[in-house]
């Protein structure tokens, strides 16, 4: 899942999901449940959001993009539209059943349902899956690295000629069969094809450039119209949609109001001018919301997520490992907890709670001190001196969405305390991740977060810390990490059909990545996310709290 709000793709096989998630433990605050739909049908609502970073399914990254686009673009597979652990389960989407997988794990065979149409009435063809993948690769979408194990995908991405086919995808429009050959077994492939960025799109209606202002038609319970990318988008029922097992949506219309003013957004939900918000109430409003509106508010650990500072290891000063360790020692998770209004669970593990590889011991014996204790400024100062980078100019990058400016300000102050001359750069959230993921920007240290698409740790490691991810521009690997051991381990562990079998290996890789001598990333906690609805929403029955998407809008309904 990507940044703040990846949709958390549902966990595929019950064996993974149940083992991984159950072992991790859930949140200790009102875990919402019973909000799986079955409520009143019809009506329209308004949702407050800071807005998708892109309305083009192959270019989006954030949760604010995943939530609406998931309703408009169904992949070959999909996640169950249910709250609780059931939401992690993969079910057939555009494909009529789960794929047949060869014994070596490299060949997947799908069968496209007959009679499916896009939101504009265009019939769905088997070859449209390849069209979607070609767009994703050609435009170097942020998630393109999730599908580069398809045979020929890397070459296609490098040469980028849309006229050419990808050898590893063999669609048959007559029979509706799609055979996908991978170069290596890949545990995340089935999750990836359940995501909007891998959804089929009609070839006659697409172009190989950004379509954020006029997204292509998709197969989904809703169709999306972008009124003004920075102000409003509208989801209306897709009359052509009818896939058994996938919720059609209770509401007739969902309007997304884009705004960066989260304080006003919260007040509007309180007053009923908005019905839901994708954001969390700001710090000073949270106590009021928690106490006065507990019947329509909850905090949940979904999707599993990790908050961390990413350090650009390709340029000074953080190309020096002691400088990176200094940051790890200096970070005070308890201070950051206050910025999160108490919604942050301190951790020193990159793998978040709720994910395979995270254990009860993950927060014990942290190499840089107790995450529930203060930062070690003196030790950090000493390391900065030893690294020879003291006094260097450092820019802390963050984005404008609350409370990220405050997080950036905290780290700026901390960097100054340990011996750097730090300043902050704040960018709009819609351009932030592209900016820090572009090497020429030379962003040295950044605010970062990742919401799991699925509890397979490859979802975390592969796009964020491997050399393979550097083929995309911009890249999620904003630390520009290219460590051979990390690359090899991720490649090997990702081939496991059941990542739970290699849980301890993932744990060890986490320790390598964050531990002494490396400290490529500095994790500090995992956020509890909120669900807050207006009075007219049927919170008890239709809160849509989903372990993959945070909130599944197709489950929303009115009282």
């Amino acid at each position: 899942m990507g940044k703040l709000g990846r949709r958390a793709a549902a966990l595929l096989v019950a064996a993974f999901a149940v083992t991984g998630i159950a072992a991790c433990g859930g949140g200790d605050d009102n875990e919402g449940g019973g909000g799986g739909g079955g409520g009143k049908s019809g009506g329209s609502i308004r949702i407050g959001t800071v807005g998708p970073d892109s309305y083009d399914p192959v270019l989006m990254q954030t949760v604010q993009a995943f939530q609406p686009l998931k309703t408009a673009y169904t992949g070959l597979l999909a996640y169950k539209d249910e709250t609780g652990k059931a939401g992690n389960e993969l079910i057939p989407g555009v494909a009529e059943k789960l794929p047949d997988v060869s014994s070596d794990g490299k060949t997947y065979t799908f069968q496209v349902r007959k009679g499916l149409k896009y939101s504009d009435g265009t019939p769905v063809k088997a070859s449209d899956f390849e069209v979607g993948i070609k767009r994703l690769l050609k435009l170097s979408g942020p998630y393109s690295s999730f599908l580069t194990t398809i045979d020929g995908a890397t070459e296609f991405q490098e040469k980028g000629d849309p006229e050419k086919d990808i050898p590893g995808i063999k669609p048959d429009n007559k029979t509706g069969k799609i055979v996908v050959n991978l170069t290596v077994p890949d545990s995340k492939f089935q999750y990836a094809v359940a995501e909007p960025y891998a959804a089929p799109v009609p070839e006659s209606k697409i172009k190989y450039s950004s379509m954020t202002n006029d997204p292509p038609p998709g197969v989904g319970p809703y169709k999306i119209d972008v009124v003004d990318p920075s102000r409003e988008f509208v989801l209306t029922r897709n009359k052509y949609f009818n896939i058994p097992g996938i919720a059609k949506g209770n509401l007739d219309k969902i309007t997304g109001e884009v705004s960066t003013n989260v304080t006003k957004m919260t007040q509007d939900v309180i007053n009923g001018q908005l019905d839901f918000m994708t954001e969390d109430p700001t710090g000073d409003q949270l106590p009021e919301v928690k106490s006065k509106y507990s019947d329509r508010f909850s905090l949940n650990p979904y999707p599993p997520n990790t908050y961390y500072f990413s350090l650009n290891s390709s340029i000074p000063p953080f190309n020096n490992e002691k400088a990176r360790e200094a940051v790890a020692y200096a970070v005070d998770s308890t201070a950051l907890q206050r910025i999160f209004s108490g919604r942050l669970k301190p951790t020193c593990s990159f793998i978040p709670p709720g994910t395979i590889g995270y254990t009860d011991d993950s927060n014990k014996n942290c190499p840089y001190g107790d995450p529930n204790g203060p930062g070690q400024i003196d030790k950090a100062k000493q390391l900065v001196k030893e690294s020879g980078t003291a006094g260097q100019d450092v820019t802390m990058w963050t984005n404008s969405k609350d409370p990220r400016p405050a997080i950036g300000e905290y780290m700026r102050d901390t960097l100054n305390q340990i011996g750097y001359k730090a300043k902050t750069k704040v960018l709009n959230q819609q351009v932030y991740f592209d900016a820090i993921g572009t090497k020429s920007r030379k962003a040295q240290i950044h605010f970062n977060d990742w919401f799991m698409d699925f509890p397979d740790p490859s979802d975390l490691f592969q796009p964020l810390v491997t050399g393979e991810a550097l083929t995309s521009t911009p890249t999620f690997n904003v630390g520009f990490i290219n460590d051979k051991h990390v690359n090899d381990e991720v490649a090997t562990l990702s081939e496991e059909r059941d990542p739970a079998d290699k849980a301890s290996d993932w744990t060890e890789l986490d320790k390598y990545l964050t531990g002494p001598g490396k400290a490529y990333v500095v994790p500090y906690g995992s956020e509890l996310t909120s669900t807050f609805m207006s009075e007219r929403m049927d919170y008890a029955n239709c809160n849509g709290i989903h372990q993959v998407f945070k909130n599944d809008w197709t489950l929303f309904c009115l009282k």
Partner: protein, 346 residues
């Protein structure tokens, strides 16, 4: 150097001036002393001028307040610190993320923000930033306007056409929009012109932008005056004596513009402070963590429900500073020439 009255239509010649002096019962006083006398009599202007000076003094003394009273700098975070107020120890920022409110004591006099920074300290340092930028930008405006107004008004013809049309282009854009466009562009990459390089977070960026966008507002009236002054006898006389154009502009014409410039300056400073606040409020001016009244208002707006003082305090300071300058500026204008029609057009 000959001296001319401050406006074309006020005092014409020594006789008219003597008449004015007689009316004022101050025979023998020069124009400067006459103006000072008028200003002294304008109690309201003096009071607002004093108010502005008090605000300036407070901001200048910001380091004293920070070091001796509040014991913290404007950008120091105190997220996990505690403070004792009235014998009670409180979190500067509670574990729920609620910052302490006004203590009305030395430390956290106006409370803290979400990073545990002292609001009162940031308010005073923010004032320094706003005033620095306002004054510097106004001086740049004045400098550029003088050059441009002199060139256009004195040389006329093609020079005047080029300069005037250029000013028209700048004038055509609403000041705020032009400022935002330039501020946003320059705040990303900074300003690089040949060997000159200004970082994106430098205060020079908003100074240059504000100084530049206000040039037409001052240059046009100056140009108008220069057009009239160049036809005067003392200019002819200087020309006849062999003085070159540059010498005439700077030794004969410019001194006669001084009153106009003096009148414009406080008004330009006030406008520059306001524009800086607007740009910073919109994120196109001063960059974090540097505070200005505009950034503080912007930070406070997000918390206006639970912490209205975060917005009100910098807003009040801004209003008082600008009001003080404007009223004082009006008083200076009235003192220099009660019948003058010099106004800052918008």
């Amino acid at each position: 150097m000959a001296t001319e009255p401050v406006t074309d239509y006020a005092l014409e010649g020594p006789a008219a001036f003597e008449l004015e002096a007689e009316r004022e019962h101050v025979a023998g006083l020069g124009p400067s002393r006459l103006a000072l006398r008028r200003l002294r009599r304008n109690k309201v202007a003096l009071a607002f001028g004093a108010l502005f000076l008090v605000i300036v003094a407070m901001c200048v003394l910001a380091p004293v307040w920070a070091n001796r009273v509040a014991h913290t700098g404007p950008n120091e975070n105190h997220l996990t610190d505690k403070v004792t107020v009235g014998g009670e120890t409180k979190d500067v920022v509670s574990p729920d993320g609620v910052p302490i409110g006004p203590t009305w004591h030395g430390r956290y006099f106006l409370g803290a923000d979400e990073n545990g920074r002292d609001i009162a300290v940031r308010l005073l340092y923010g004032g320094r930033t706003s005033l620095q930028i306002g004054v510097a930008a106004a001086l740049i405006t004045a400098f550029l306007s003088i050059i441009v107004g002199l060139l256009a008004g004195y040389f006329r013809g093609f020079t005047d056409t080029v300069v005037s049309r250029s000013l028209d282009v700048i004038w055509a854009y609403p000041v705020i929009l032009l400022g935002i466009a330039l501020g946003t562009a320059l705040s990303l990459g900074g300003l690089h012109i040949g060997p000159i390089s200004v970082g994106s977070d430098s205060k020079l960026i908003p100074i240059i932008i504000i100084g530049f966008v206000y040039v037409p507002y001052m240059a046009r009236p100056l140009r108008g005056q220069v057009l009239g002054l160049r036809e005067k006898e003392f200019v002819e006389s200087a020309r006849a004596q062999g003085a070159g154009s540059l010498r005439i502009m700077f030794t004969e014409v410019l001194p006669n513009l001084s009153s106009t410039i003096i009148v414009f300056l406080p008004l330009m400073i006030a406008n520059a402070i306001l524009l800086e606040a607007a740009l910073s409020f919109l994120g196109a001016g001063v960059q974090p963590p540097t505070s200005s009244w505009g950034t503080l208002i912007s930070d406070g707006v997000e918390k206006i429900i639970t912490g209205p003082h975060l917005t009100i305090a910098p807003g009040v300071m801004l209003v008082l500073a600008v009001l003080g300058l404007n009223v004082f500026g009006d008083g200076v204008r009235d003192a220099l020439d009660p019948r003058a029609k010099i106004r800052l057009e918008h």
